[in-house]
Symmetry: C2
Subunit: 418 residues, 2 copies
């Protein structure tokens, strides 16, 4: 067995499938998606028993309970997965859409048209529903998909993939349009991300460690976010009640996700008024505070923050707090320590809002709202394949349109260049 | 001297400059560009004597005459360079433009706004005017630029960069907004392309060897085309007179460029009529033909093409010719052997045109026109920083808009996520 050759073969089959997918119209693709949803329903028992095997192995391997929970499929999660598939079928297909078109003085007509990217590889861990969610978005946009799930979810992922293919094929899903990597060999990822010319894009979904492993050897484009070190800056003219509500929501509503708050910056002019109130609110939410000296002078209970805390993505009920002397200092802090994901200012001063929006170099920048809204669903995209902190191609929440590229079609009548 | 540390310092200075550039409005940037053009005029003698040094060293080093010619600056080229700078000043600034905006049911207003990419590194060879052209496009789009030119043009490049900076600084060009790499150490490129977080994008401009050297170690996004293996397919229902004109133009008008024709595909139904006429026309243009067996049966003078010829970018008066049994075979050939750059069909059959446009997986696909039109100027973009065969971010000719990204600005009134 040679992992390199196996992955090349998978890439080549993906390319052929991408050409076939490119011939399907929106109606046909939606029928396929509906049939895939039906098949996941029909394969319910098979999927649940595969999941039971994964869960048993996970417990035997001593996996942390939080990871075991991510693996778990129950009726609610199965229903959500099936609904997700049917929802994707109802979304507008971006493929074939005309981005712009114009006619040149020599009569050449230039049409910039939305087309599939080609072959997309998704590398993920734990949650087996990602198999279904991401395959659906790729098929909807006529992209062949190569799925590489976590070893711990391999039986569930295989059962899901079997259902999708069994449901889709009779309705015209091209052969190899959905391929699940069966081998658990760790070198498979390294090989996949070097398949220049066969795979067009890699999207890793998971923790920072997974993403670094993917990018380390990548020779093909990777769209990703390493982490979400999100900030709220309470400006001098902030509505402090609003600030408390936004901070509580951004920190506590779901602390384990990438758009949760990690570092709070407080303008020195409001620190004395605001920080004692913050401490009270955070204590009620069981949030541990780690502050700089100025914060600790006002909140004696706070632990001392170190340099590492400003870079930290806690994903937990911990909040780093720093008092800053100015708007500029807040922006400088965010651009230096942040992850360019989601950052918010709370302020009633329009000039400060404008400067913050303009100068914070992040994918999504908020005025007077919680960072938790960085999400394809909350943005109204209908679906999300991930969130990007890249600057090229896709930035912020990625929906269907971000899974497309464009090409130029040029219509002539024999024009030659002078 | 430590190249790694030097390049990191240059990247860090670029980041600071990018923030300062982000504060300039369009009017200010245009004044800077005009002042840069004035300075290039004022530094004329200095630039010409620097160029004379490069030319002398090039001749002493025994550089090929074609490379020496690329280095050469004369009055015509100087005038074109200065005009280019002034033209960029007159173009519309894409920065700050609103891509789209909408309001969510919860009242959040989402604005998708065009912003600079940040720090862009241009790696190029020989032609010193690239220093001016690319710096102008980057400054116009508020991107800091790091220029790494060829060793052979180093005196000319330095003289141009000095002029640009001397002209721009008094008008508000931020310090280090334009940085020219002075060292000729080959490791500089390897270091630059690994500066994740400091440089946002690398654009190599030059031959395939240069581009492979850049991509080999790249850890940051590279937008490029390795080569242009462009095709014309003469379909069964082609206007043969038009086909001859298009082929002559695409092959001969400027054979050394990436959008020139390299392989001709002829449908078998018209081969017997068309190929003798082609042979005559190509002979008149001094083009060497390399054909498959079917071609050579009809054109006895043609050399035998090997598998390598189908992949070849000759950049010379040589044309590979293959007879294909069908439209599908032509498309399969192009997608397999081509470089996804520019490909054309000559045909009066609408169905064939449509299939070709849809299934050829290239950045620009033509019906009844020469491939030579793949160019920012010919597309009406006003300026061009290069041509991309990438699928992500920018595909085909790249103008000002392709040097931008976007960010989401979200305006709330205290919204929190439920």
């Amino acid at each position: 067995m040679n992992v390199h050759n196996d992955m090349v073969a998978i890439g080549e089959r993906g390319r052929v499938a991408a050409q076939a997918l490119n011939r399907l119209n929106a109606r046909k693709k939606n029928l396929i998606l509906e049939a895939m949803a039906d098949a996941v329903e029909a394969h319910h028992d098979n999927i649940m028993s595969a999941n039971a095997r994964d869960l048993e192995e996970a417990r035997n391997d001593g996996l942390a309970p939080s990871l075991v929970d991510r693996l778990l499929l129950n009726d609610r999660r199965m229903q959500a997965t099936i609904k997700g598939l049917r929802d994707v079928a109802t979304l507008k297909d971006p493929i074939g859409g005309i981005v712009s078109q114009w006619i040149r003085p020599n009569g050449l007509k230039i049409v910039k048209k939305r087309v599939p990217i080609g072959v997309i590889c998704i590398i993920y861990e734990s949650r087996p529903n990602v198999t279904v969610d991401t395959a659906a978005l790729c098929i909807k946009t006529s992209n062949a998909v190569i799925l590489r799930g976590g070893k711990e979810a391999r039986h569930s992922n295989a059962a899901f993939a079997d259902a999708l293919i069994a449901g889709g094929r009779p309705k015209g899903l091209p052969e190899h349009a959905i391929q699940l990597i069966a081998t658990t060999d760790r070198n498979a990822v390294k090989e996949l991300v070097q398949l220049e010319g066969l795979i067009d894009l890699v999207i890793p979904r998971g923790g920072e460690e997974l993403i670094r492993a993917v990018t380390q050897h990548a020779r093909i484009p990777v769209i990703k976010h390493y982490k979400g070190v999100c900030h709220v800056y309470v400006e001098a003219e902030a509505n402090l009640d609003m600030a408390l509500d936004i901070i509580e929501n951004a920190k506590c509503q779901r602390p384990g996700v990438c758009n949760a708050l990690e570092t709070l910056l407080v303008d020195q002019t409001v620190a004395a008024t605001f920080l004692p109130r913050l401490a009270e609110r955070m204590q009620a939410c069981k949030v541990e505070l780690r502050g700089d000296d100025a914060t600790r002078a006002l909140v004696p209970g706070a632990k001392a923050a170190t340099e590492d805390d400003w870079f930290a993505e806690y994903l937990d009920l911990i909040l780093a707090v720093r008092v800053v002397p100015s708007l500029d200092a807040a922006i400088t802090h965010i651009n230096h320590y942040g992850s360019h994901h989601s950052d918010a200012i709370v302020s009633d001063n329009e000039m400060a809002q404008k400067t913050f929006l303009h100068e914070v170099d992040s994918a999504t920048v908020y005025v007077n709202a919680s960072t938790r809204f960085t999400d394809g669903g909350e943005f109204g995209m209908g679906a999300e394949i991930g969130i990007s902190t890249e600057k090229l191609h896709a930035r912020g929440p990625m929906g269907l349109e971000e899974l497309t590229t464009y090409k130029y079609l040029i219509y002539g009548k024999g024009q030659i260049r002078q």
